[in-house]
């Protein structure tokens, strides 16, 4: 389209709804978040969408753009536009609250299901645990701790879409950082938690999570690590 406008299809409604089309001026260096903001300010005041930092740090603006989950503030229109058309929907595999706003409650509940919380082994009265940042376990944990829970990996994952029990890459990535944390007190419990139906064994190593993570994390690698650890525990009779 060379008349300087974009054809933008935006999801309106909740789980039931429809795509509505807007004509948006195409500007240089425009991001998808710019496009959504323009629509809300100039064409559709009732459009609901989420954002916060708008500089690629918080992950709040994650949406599905032409079929791929992305941070919209970090997505240049020129990189995704297809024959002058951009299609914007809320993140896949999450209930829809309104328009482009998805409900992240199931995402966080699954984080809990995978025991994505630290179990303390000491109190503030005890000396600090001497953990070297160079130790292999700490490096494995550090490779995953930058996750800001934006749910892009969760939405990219087809197993999440196909299997409602699957806790997803972010929850398992979090479990991986904890299983490698020497200060965590309940490694056995964590391995049990990720071995339930919908745990790490449901992952089929598609790698969509790695492809899409905006922070460059590798949940597939962590999940493979959890598979090896749970197998080891199973063979030692330590899993039940």
């Amino acid at each position: 389209m060379n008349d300087g406008t974009l054809t933008v299809e935006i999801w309106r409604g909740k789980d039931e709804g429809r795509f509505e089309t807007y004509r948006v001026p195409h500007r240089e260096s425009q991001t998808i978040l710019d496009v959504v903001t323009w629509v809300q300010r100039n064409a559709e005041p009732a459009l609901a969408y989420r954002f916060a930092c708008r500089v690629g740090m918080c992950g709040s603006c994650a949406m599905t753009v032409n079929g791929k989950p992305r941070w919209t503030c970090r997505t240049h229109v020129s990189k995704v536009v297809s024959s002058g058309v951009v299609r914007i929907e809320p993140l896949r595999s999450l209930p829809r609250i309104k328009d482009l706003v998805a409900d992240l409650t199931p995402f966080f509940e699954k984080w809990r299901t995978a025991r994505g919380r630290f179990e303390p082994s000491a109190t503030r009265a005890d000396p600090m645990a001497p953990i070297s940042p160079e130790s292999p376990k700490r490096k494995a944990a550090d490779a995953g701790i930058e996750c800001i829970n934006c749910a892009v990996c969760y939405s990219a994952c087809d197993v999440v879409a196909w299997n409602p029990d699957y806790v997803g890459p972010a929850a398992l990535n979090r479990a991986w950082t904890l299983v490698n944390d020497e200060r965590d007190n309940d490694r056995a419990g964590l391995l049990r938690a990720v071995s339930e139906a919908g745990g790490c064994h449901a992952c089929h190593t598609h790698g969509s999570c790695v492809e899409h993570c905006p922070v460059g994390l590798n949940p597939t690698e962590g999940i493979a690590g959890l598979k090896r650890m749970t197998l080891s525990a199973l063979l030692k009779g330590a899993l039940s």
């Binding site: 791929k68 990219a156 190593t205 790698g207 969509s208 492809e211």
Partner: protein
């Protein structure tokens, strides 16, 4: 039209692995039943083998050989990703798997002649 989030080699590899596995699993009982004809007589098995001489069936056999090699190659890729230290060369592994299956397919055609 494949969904945007699926347009990467890992997903295609996973789908090829799954579909080839499905087709092989459906074929397997038939394969066992044909071999089982030898219980009746050698002639019964021979009859079935001669039936497979038809060109279309030979194409099907070639397809099965390719499917088996593909499933094996892509399965080895999964085992490597899950049990060996991570390498970013996972895409290369897919290439190796597919190439091997095509090679075996060619050998099949060659050996038939």
């Amino acid at each position: 039209m494949i969904r945007g989030s699926r347009r990467h080699p890992g997903f295609l590899a996973a789908m090829a692995h799954r579909i080839s596995g499905l087709l092989l699993a459906l074929f397997l009982p038939a394969h066992f039943l044909v071999l089982g004809l030898a219980i009746e007589s050698e002639a019964a098995l021979e009859g079935a083998i001669r039936w497979t001489d038809q060109p279309l069936v030979k194409v099907g056999e070639w397809g099965l050989v390719v499917l088996l090699t593909l499933h094996l190659g892509l399965g080895l890729r999964v085992l490597a990703l899950e049990f060996l230290p991570w390498r970013d060369s996972r895409k290369t592994l897919i290439g190796v798997g597919v190439a091997a299956s095509l090679l075996v397919g060619l050998l099949f055609i060659h050996n038939l002649g």
